[in-house]
Each structure stands twice: as C-alpha cells, then as structure tokens.
Symmetry: C2
Subunit: 335 residues, 2 copies
C-alpha cells in the first residue's frame, strides 16, 4: 500500500502538499495539483483511514445500537437514519447488544474513543448518571424511548399515553378483563407501556391484577408462550393488550390453536405497526409510530450534536396514531 510519503517523493513535492491536495485546499498551483493527482492515480494511493482517524479523531461512521435485530420494527427507523446519514456522507454501522450491559459499555467506549462519531441507541441499560455524563460530552441520541427525569437527547412518541389510549379503546368496546403482555420491565419502554395500561384501568376503577400481566420476550414465540401460560393458569380474559406486534401475533396464534377466535372470543391489540401487522389474518389493531420520520429526525439531531451545536429541544415527542383493524373486534357492550 502506497503512503502519502511515497506519493510525495514520486511527485517531487512534500507530504504537506499532497495532504493539501487531498483536502482540496485552494492554495495550490493547478500544475502541481495535476502532477500529484497523476501520481496518486498511478500508485493507486488511498489515504490510510486508521492513521487519518487517529490523527483527526473523526471516522465518518455512526453506530446504531439495537437490542435484538429480530425485532423488525427497527428497520424503517434505521432506513430513515441511513438515508439522512448518506446525504451527509456518513456511514452506518449496527451492533446488537442483547441488552447486555457489558456489550453496551464496549460500544459506548467506542464512542468515547472516537472510533465512531456518534451513537444512536434504542436502549440504554447503563446507569443514569453514566448516561447523562456521556451525553454531555459525546454525541449520542436515544430513539423510541424516553427516560423520565433524565436530560438525554431523544426522539420518541409518548409510549405511556399511547398504551393508555389503546387500552382505553378496548375498554370503550366493553372489555373489562384485559390482559397485558409486556417485555422486560427493566427497560423503560416496556415500563412505560405497562404503566399506560395500568393508567387506563385505574381511571375506570378497574383493579390491576398481577395475574393478568405477563412478561415475556418481545417475539412471536414470546407471545405464544405468554398466552399458553395465561390459559394454563386458568386466567379469564376477553382482551389482550400486547406491548409489541410480535407479541400480539404470537398471542393470536396461540389463541387460535386453543380454539378461541380472534376477535370474536378475544380481542387483541399490538404496538408498533410492523409490516406484518397489516398483512396478518386477522390484521392487527395497533399503535403506529412515525418510523421513517423518527429515523430522519434522530439523525438530524445527531448531526447537530456532532457539529457541536446545542440542541434547541432535547426531547422530541412525535405524534403516534391508533390504527384500528380487525383484531380488536367490535363493541361487545359494557358490563
């Protein structure tokens, strides 16, 4: 591999001149420019990125941290991030954390060490004070989640309110025995959605029963297992609020298997509006987040942070939308 020194020697100029040409500085004679460019071409010279990064402390790379790739909900957001990044010449790298704190620490260390210019994360299991300190020094943004009481730059919808809304929708249809399928509540996102469910019930004076709340992995299989567990325990319910579409789809699948029709026997709602939700049978009533928009907004904010600007709004709360489809059924009368 040719180095800048090789080019300089070959062209009979100094490395400084070559470097200037590489960064199209104006202060260079067209003829020396041409001469050097010819040598660069001839030697097939590519600046050593590691050396350059080491020197400039910039990489042009952005890292996205996702808990599990398996959740298809992330794609459209990532796609929004990518398109905005591409416009500005940044490249996107993605890493899976599996909600593993050690792994998360490793990747945040990448940020501190300037191995990437910024981080966008869907989760953050680091200690709150660690996060706040980090965010005060390095460009990173949390997307899809809101950490109550913390001053972290993020882009999200109001998950708690959305969850309350969709639970209310079921309550308005007449349901009173509503189960909640939720992901690991250590994760604020799922805590929020669970709280929204509880809010709605409490507002109507309906008791929140622990046996109607089921924590599971947010996957199709997780939803399937949850419903089997509920049924196995003999829990009686006429509706299921799932805190993720995959959970809801797994739940429907399990209900069908045990001969209970959706929505006529049991109404089911999801959360996120993944691609499958509109195609599934029955199609899923769910909460639609403005995914593409979230990705774009997130990347824009990150670019501002990288540019050293101070954000006008730390928190971006975007609008969501209740999408009513088949799985939630019709009015069944109040009890």
């Amino acid at each position: 591999m040719a180095t800048i020194q090789d080019v300089a020697k070959e062209a009979g100029v100094s490395t400084a001149t070559v470097s200037r040409i590489l960064h199209n500085s104006s202060n260079v004679l067209p003829e020396t420019r041409d001469k050097v460019m010819a040598v660069i071409e001839r030697l097939d010279y590519h600046p050593n990125r590691l050396a350059r990064q080491f020197r400039t402390q910039e990489t042009g790379n952005i890292l996205i941290l996702v808990p599990e790739l398996e959740n298809t909900f992330y794609y459209e957001i990532i796609s929004g991030i990518e398109s905005t990044a591409k416009e500005k010449g940044y490249h996107i790298l993605i890493a899976e954390t599996h909600n593993d704190v050690e792994l998360e620490e490793y990747f945040f260390e990448c940020l501190k060490q300037k191995q990437v210019d910024g981080i966008i994360t869907f989760s953050a299991r680091l200690a709150p004070d660690q996060l706040e300190q980090l965010s005060s020094q390095y460009p990173f943004i949390i997307v899809c989640r809101y950490y109550e009481g913390m001053n972290l730059p993020n882009v999200a919808i109001d998950n708690r309110k959305a969850s309350r809304d969709i639970t209310n929708y079921l309550l308005n249809l007449g349901h009173r025995r509503i189960c909640c399928l939720v992901g690991n509540t250590d994760i604020p996102l799922y805590q929020d959605r669970l709280n929204g469910y509880k809010d709605a019930l409490k507002e109507r004076g309906i008791p929140v029963l622990p046996e109607m709340i089921c924590t599971e992995r947010v996957t199709i299989q997780g939803g399937y297992d949850a419903v089997e567990r509920l049924a196995g325990a003999g829990t009686d319910f006429s509706a299921v609020v799932a805190c993720g579409d995959t959970l809801a789809i797994g739940a429907i699948r399990a209900l069908k298997n045990m001969g209970r029709k959706v929505p006529s026997d049991v109404a089911v709602t999801g959360f996120d509006d993944i691609e499958l939700s509109s195609l599934y049978n029955p199609s899923l009533t769910t909460v639609r987040q403005p995914k593409k928009q979230m990705g774009i907004r997130t990347m824009e904010k990150l670019l501002d942070l990288i540019a050293g600007k101070t954000l006008i709004h730390q928190q971006d709360i975007l609008n969501y939308e209740l999408v009513i489809r088949e799985s939630s059924g019709e009015y069944i009368g109040s009890h």
Copy 2:
C-alpha cells in the same frame, strides 16, 4: 483522557513497562506491576484504541455485510456468528449494503485498511476478479451463497439442488402449472434457486414459461405484489414456488384476498424456514437451512483465516432439509 505517558510518569516508570504490563508480559517485577496497576486504576486509564489499532493493525472487530436487514432469515446465522465471535473476544458490527456496489466497496475498503479484522458477507456484487484478489489477501467469507467457478471461501447449502427438490415435491403431488417467485436474478443466490426450479421442470419435460416466473423484492409485500401481477395477467397456476419465505407469505396473503384457498386451490412453498413460517396460517412448506450451524462454521473459518491458516476446504456445503407443512397440501393426482 489519561495516556500511557501519564501513567508512566505518574508511576515513575517508562511507557514500555506500562505497555508490557498491559499485555501481561512475564518479564516484570510484581511490585512494579502492582504500582503501575494502581496508577492505571487511579487515573482510570483506558488505552487509546485508535492509536493501538493504528499501531497493531488489529481491531478485534468483525464486519457482517447484509443486503437488507429486513430479511429475518439472517438473524439466526448472525447469532451463530456472534456466539462464536464472543468466545474468541471479537465484536460484531453489521452494515446494510442494499446491494449497492459503492457501499460494498466502502466496506471492503474497511477490510483492506484494517479497520476490521475480517468480513462475512451475504452477498457480493463486486467484480469476480476483484473478489478473488481480495480473498487471497484479506480474511473474508461468503455465507449462504456459492459463486460458481470462483475460488472463494464460503459456507452454504446447495441452493439449486434444494430448489429442484422442493419443486419436485410439488410435481410429485401432481402439480404441473407451477409459478416461481424469485428475487433479483443478478444475485447468484436467486439465480441458483430459479435454476433449480427450471431443472425440475425440464427433467419432467414441462416447458419453462417466462410468464410463470416473477421477479420481486424478497419481502412480504413483494410476494403480495407478485401474485397480484400474475393474477392480473390472467396466468393460470395451481402452485407457487417462492424463493424466500417472505415471498411465500405475501403470496398466500394475496391469494386469500382474491378468494383462493391455500393449499386446496393453490399450493405454496417457501425457502429458508424463518421463524414466522411455522407460526403462519397455513404453516409453510419450505427448505430449512442449518442457520445457527452456518453462522458458527462461518465464524470458525474466518478465525482460521485471520490466524493466517490456509483453509482445508474452501467451500463448505452443509445439508438442508425439506420441511413439509400445511401450505403445500396433498396429492392432487397427475395430469
């Protein structure tokens, strides 16, 4: 951020000694070791990774290139890669290429520049000679695909044969008008699967009709669109061979929508056995690849390459399995 110099000065030793301790070299007195370690802790010293990488030309990072994150088929393979990588202390980064050659070139340049220690890719649109030259100098492996006539290290099943097998399965059930839904045939993987379909038909003397072959994005929506297009063109068929489970699921969805029952009116088969395939209604007849195993094997090979070993087998062809479920239906008699 403290540097190795700070530590050396503070501990009253040279940077060489600190470096030795960092790499637990044996040639160092326990007492100086303890002294230095104490300083490292006190200053919260973390070696600068960029400097280290620049110096050693090693990063401890492996890059996985996926065409589209959207294809859930990749996860289990990635999970296999990750688990093996983790054992050996490597970290995994993922990048989406969208089958964009320029993007692919950028990431392969990362490999050349030692920004990552190795690459595992699900696709490769670079020119064949470029790929061969690359593979002779840098550690990279192609997974799930086989490039005929090229000497590239890879791990895959025999896609063509598997596709022939599943088409044959439908032929044996009595189907004669079989459509094929396929991804972009510029991509060898889909070319192989299409060829397998053609092989099976030809072996029975059944003409391969262009109007029965439909190229689409390998997504649920793509499958949906493909069937709508076929129906719109008035094409008559009793079975559909899809070169991907998402395509198959989208196809089933579209067929249902137009009032055709699967499998009684139309038999449908997929390819890959993604999680959803067993949960969908009807469950999908498909080809199961040993995904986890593929990931593990791929990473093992890559580690060998990184260690400078020469591979005993350049090509790994793993066994696949026909998974017969509901969507392919029963014997309908031969024509």
